[in-house]
């Protein structure tokens, strides 16, 4: 996708998200038309702005930690000193991804209890997997001859990592982070069932109380958030040229 189109997409979704968060609280009349009998048609327990902020903070924190750990683990097991761990980590990353995120989230409760922190930890654990897997794929996919030349020219292992390996695998690693964050936005929404304050709150409250208006309001904001973040990654991806020649 061209840079201009991805800019447009990002701006479009961003504006729609902002508009939704700001305008929904004032749409009493509209929702009243749909649900004339409901006691309340706008979710007001928390403002959508604060829920959005909370949701973003949880996803961002989990994403940053998972990226650091995941890329770090991927680098570690592809170094000479860590290669013993490579088969196990690679298998773990691929088997772990078959675990449904909601099950991982649920299992974090018996282990860690209710609340925001257990949610973040569950998101980190689950979010690690696609990042590790893509980091491995990116680093291992680099043409052997390029690495041989880098060594032969006398680049130190750190120089090879920073100047050759990471730049050449950056687009694949980014794709992994994107997958991880996309899943985490969805899982964080479910996190409101284990006591994290997120955009899932209005949805869950709506389902529990049979209030369709809450459900729609939550759903719209979550969907727009996901699309907005996804197009942000699309835009970042545009800034990274891909180097097909360097990859097998």
């Amino acid at each position: 996708m061209s840079v201009r189109r991805s800019n447009m997409r990002l701006i479009l979704w961003g504006l729609m998200l902002t508009a939704a968060v700001l305008v929904i609280p004032h749409l009493d009349v509209l929702f009243r038309l749909w649900l004339p009998d409901a006691r309340e048609v706008i979710y007001r327990r928390d403002s959508f702005v604060s829920l959005l902020g909370n949701h973003l903070a949880i996803v961002t924190a989990a994403g940053l930690i998972a990226t650091l750990l995941g890329v770090g683990a991927g680098i570690a097991v592809t170094r000479h000193w860590g290669k013993d761990f490579l088969p196990l980590v690679a298998q773990l990353a691929s088997i772990g991804q078959t675990f449904p995120p909601v099950a991982v989230l649920a299992l974090s409760v018996p282990a860690l209890g209710f609340g925001t922190l257990p949610t973040i930890i569950a998101l980190v654990l689950y979010g690690l997997l696609p990042i590790v897997r893509n980091t491995l794929a990116g680093l291992q996919g680099i043409d052997d001859d390029v690495m041989e030349a880098a060594r032969g020219m006398g680049m130190s292992s750190l120089q090879r990592l920073w100047q050759v390996e990471l730049p050449l695998s950056s687009d694949i690693i980014l794709a992994g982070i994107r997958t991880s964050v996309t899943i985490n936005i969805a899982t964080a929404a479910i996190g409101s069932t284990i006591g994290a304050k997120t955009l899932g709150d209005p949805l869950i409250a709506g389902i529990v109380n049979g209030n369709g208006a809450y459900v729609i309001q939550g759903a719209i904001v979550i969907a727009l958030l996901a699309l907005c973040v996804d197009s942000l990654f699309e835009r970042i991806g545009c800034a990274l040229p891909s180097y097909d020649q360097g990859r097998i």
């Binding site: 749909w34 088969p87 298998q91 675990f99 449904p100 909601v102 099950a103 282990a111 069932t193 389902i207």
Partner: protein, 390 residues
Amino acid sequence: MIRSPSNSVLVTLMLAALLTLLAVDVATLQPNRIVAGEGYSLRAIMGLDGLLLSLLPFMFATWLAWFANARRYVVIVVILLVYWVSWPWGMSLFAQAMIEPGQQAARVGIGPGLWVLLFLLLLMVLEVQTRLGMPHLGRWLLWSAILVSVAVPFWSGVLNDLALVREYQGNADDFAAALQYHTLLVGAVVVISLTLAVAMALAMRSHDGLKRSVFAILSVIQTIPSLALFGLLLAPLAWLSSQFPLLADLGVQGIGWAPAALALIGYSLLPMTRNTYVALDSIDPNVTEAARGMGMSRWQVFFHVRLPLALPVIVEGIRITSVQAIGLAAVAALIGAGGLGTFVFQGLGQAAMDLVLLGAVPIIVMAVLVDMALSGLAAVCRRGVANAEP
């Protein structure tokens, strides 16, 4: 494929397991269903002598891993399996010792230390299996043994005092129904989306513009979080069922199976269509050209050349879709779609952790089993292709 004599991975995992067993509680005792249990360490249960005795084989395995070779790996696997097989029985002994006959509601639980140990044991088996380069059949036997050795004590009544089993017994009928429903929902979704995907892939092969817009729409759907998509389907479906009583009679409404199935199909379409399209599109034109050139009819080319070559990739699509659908169906329990997710959310609502486990663990096992089975099938298909090609 055994590289270095000392397997640092196994040694690390084993040391971690030893530390866990020494420091973290392995079992809990709960007076009733809701109250959090009291933790017991292995030492508290077995005494110092018993602790050391029970860890002795493990230390031996650690030593073997430090000087590993093919034969020692086999011994290590055997030791690991012994631990794996014996924990339910140990748990049963613990329950007999701790629960007095009158305490109807009392139950024992798996402590955090034991969870960690079980996880580490599985990792170790995985590691040894990789190092030994076990053949497919061997792996299947190994993992079947692991599964059966847990299933037997569960069903034989040995673990009747375990909280998880109590929870199961309290919900046995519901559990069977939920399992069946979950399977049915996922199965139906996979079949429907496969049919749709094949039709769309075939249509896209002849209309290039269609391809871009379909993939664009499908990837937008895939991006939207499941909970939101369920929510977004609520209003239109509710409206439909209020307008058309026939639909309402069929069970189509804002909550329940209808939005769940629709959303699941929506999510399944992207991986399924993409794989089907790629499978049909990436076949070397030289191959079909040669087939046509040798006088095969269009249908013969499709059935004897295209389909066998495409099959592994399509099966791979089914695998991705099924695993994804199993997880999403669990989320759908939130909107009243039923299935195993019901236990998870009920458990979370009642703060009954064992009910959460009763939902979450089978979901994971189901996802892993389906993943293994379908990747095995894809491998078989691929081997067929490899054999077909000279």
